[in-house]
C-alpha cells in the first residue's frame, strides 16, 4: 500500500471516530442543554416581571424589524409579550448591549405604560470585581425602576453611573435606553392582547 494512502486512512479513521464520539456525547447532553437554556430564559423573564405568569415570543416580523431599527446601535434579540392571568401585562425585551468586555445580554421588562418593571443581566463578560459592580451594587440595577413611563434617552442619562466601571454601567444604561426607544417607536402603539 502506498504511503500516502496509509496517511489518508489514518487521518480519516481519527476523524470518523472523533465524529462518532462527539455525536454520542451530543445526543446524551442535548436534551439537558435545551432544558437548561429554557430554564435560564424563563428565570430571566420572571426576574424582570415577577407578576407575569406567561411569556410569549413575538413572531411578527414587521414589528421585530421596526423594533430592531428603533433599538439603534444596540442589538435587539427578542421581544416577549407578557401576560398576567390572561390579560396583557407588558413586554420583556431581550437585547445585547456593548459593555467593556463584549456584548452584555440584558432583559428589560416594561409594563403597558412603558415604565421599567425590572432589568436583569443574562450574561456578560465584564471584568470581575470591576465591571461586575453593575450586578453586585444592586442599587444600580434597581434605580431603573424609577424611570418615568415613556422615558427617553435623556431620562436614562440622568441616572447614576458607577465610578470605576463607567463602560459596563453605560452598557446597561444604553440597553435600557434602547428598550425605551423600542417602546416609544413600536410597542406603545401595539394593542396588548391582540395577536
Amino acid at each position: 500500500m502506498p504511503k500516502s494512502i496509509r496517511l489518508v486512512i489514518a487521518v480519516l479513521v481519527a476523524c470518523v471516530s472523533a465524529a462518532l464520539g462527539l455525536s454520542l456525547t451530543y445526543a446524551a447532553t442535548a436534551p439537558r442543554i435545551a432544558e437548561q437554556d429554557r430554564l435560564a430564559e424563563e428565570r430571566s423573564l420572571q426576574a424582570v416581571m415577577p407578576d407575569a405568569d406567561d411569556f410569549e415570543k413575538v413572531a411578527d416580523a414587521a414589528l421585530l424589524e421596526a423594533a430592531a431599527a428603533a433599538a439603534g446601535p444596540t442589538d435587539l434579540k427578542d421581544v416577549y409579550l407578557a401576560s398576567e392571568a390572561g390579560a396583557h401585562a407588558g413586554w420583556a425585551i431581550k437585547l445585547a448591549s456593548r459593555g467593556y468586555g463584549g456584548p452584555m445580554q440584558l432583559v428589560i421588562g416594561l409594563d403597558t405604560s412603558g415604565s421599567v418593571t425590572g432589568v436583569s443581566i443574562l450574561s456578560m463578560n465584564e471584568t470581575p470585581g470591576l465591571g461586575t459592580k453593575v450586578l453586585t451594587e444592586s442599587w444600580f440595577i434597581e434605580q431603573f425602576v424609577t424611570l418615568p413611563a415613556g422615558f427617553d434617552d435623556a431620562d436614562v442619562r440622568a441616572l447614576d453611573s458607577i465610578s470605576g466601571s463607567t463602560r459596563s454601567a453605560n452598557g446597561v444604561r444604553n440597553g435600557v435606553a434602547a428598550a425605551g426607544r423600542v417602546y416609544a417607536a413600536v410597542l406603545s402603539g401595539e394593542e396588548g392582547g391582540a395577536q
Binding site: 496509509r6 472523533a18 462527539l22 451530543y26 471584568t127 470581575p128 470585581g129 470605576g164
Partner: protein, 212 residues
C-alpha cells in the same frame, strides 16, 4: 512504579507547565480572576490533557509521524468539545462565565505539547502520570494565582455566592490585580518564587551529596 511517581511529580514541580515551561498562559491569565472559574477551567484542562495523552499513547504506533499533528488536534478538539457540552449541560453558570475559554483549550499549547513531547513516545501508564501531573500542576498554579488576584483584587473570595474569606472592611482593593497588568505582575512574582524554591532545593541536594 517509581518511574510513574517521578513522571507525575515532574509536572507539578520542576517541569510545571505554567511556572517553569510557561506554556498555555493566555487562558490562565484571562480566567484567573476568580477562584471558582480557575478551579473549573483547571479541571477541564486536567481532563483533556489526561485523556488526550492516553489516546495518543495507546495509538502511538498506529499514528504515522507525518500526520501526527493533525491527528493530535482532532483528538484534543474532540475532548474539548465533550467538556464543552458536558459543562453546558451540568454547570451552566460556570459555563457562561468561562465562555470562549473552554473551546480555546484546543489551542492551549500545553496539551498539544504533552501529546507531542511525551505521550507519543511513552507507554499509556506513564502518559497518564504525565497528563495528571501536568494537569494538576496547571490546576494548582492557576488556583493559587486566582486566589491571590481575587482575594487582594476584590477583598474577598466568593465560591458560588458563599463568601469564604473576607478582608477587613478598611482594605481598599486595588483593581489593577483583576486586569491584565495585575495578572502578569502576580504571575511574575509566582515564577520568581518557584525559581527561588527550585534553586534552594537544588543547593540543598548538592550540600547533601557533598556530605556523603
Amino acid at each position: 512504579m517509581n518511574e510513574w511517581i517521578r513522571t507525575f511529580r515532574q509536572g507539578i514541580g520542576i517541569e510545571n507547565p505554567l511556572t517553569v515551561l510557561m506554556i498555555g498562559l493566555c487562558a490562565t491569565l484571562a480566567v484567573s480572576t476568580q477562584v471558582q472559574n480557575a478551579a473549573f477551567m483547571g479541571l477541564a484542562v486536567v481532563f483533556v490533557v489526561t485523556m488526550s495523552n492516553i489516546l495518543v499513547s495507546v495509538f502511538r504506533n498506529a499514528i504515522p509521524s507525518e500526520v501526527r499533528i493533525p491527528i493530535f488536534i482532532v483528538v484534543i478538539a474532540s475532548f474539548v468539545t465533550i467538556v464543552d457540552l458536558v459543562m453546558k449541560a451540568f454547570v451552566p453558570g460556570i459555563y457562561q462565565v468561562l465562555g470562549i475559554w473552554i473551546p480555546l483549550i484546543v489551542v492551549n499549547c500545553m496539551i498539544l505539547g504533552r501529546a507531542e513531547a511525551f505521550a507519543y513516545h511513552n507507554k499509556p501508564l506513564l502518559a497518564i502520570a504525565d497528563g495528571l501531573g501536568m494537569g494538576i500542576g496547571f490546576w494548582l498554579v492557576m488556583v493559587v494565582l486566582a486566589t491571590i488576584r481575587e482575594l487582594f483584587g476584590t477583598g474577598a473570595i466568593v465560591w458560588f455566592e458563599t463568601t469564604l474569606v473576607r478582608l477587613p472592611a478598611g482594605y481598599a482593593p486595588p483593581s489593577v490585580l483583576l486586569l491584565f497588568p495585575g495578572a502578569f505582575l502576580v504571575f511574575g512574582f509566582m515564577i520568581a518564587g518557584t525559581r527561588w524554591l527550585g534553586e534552594r532545593s537544588a543547593a540543598r541536594a548538592e550540600a547533601r551529596a557533598c556530605r556523603r
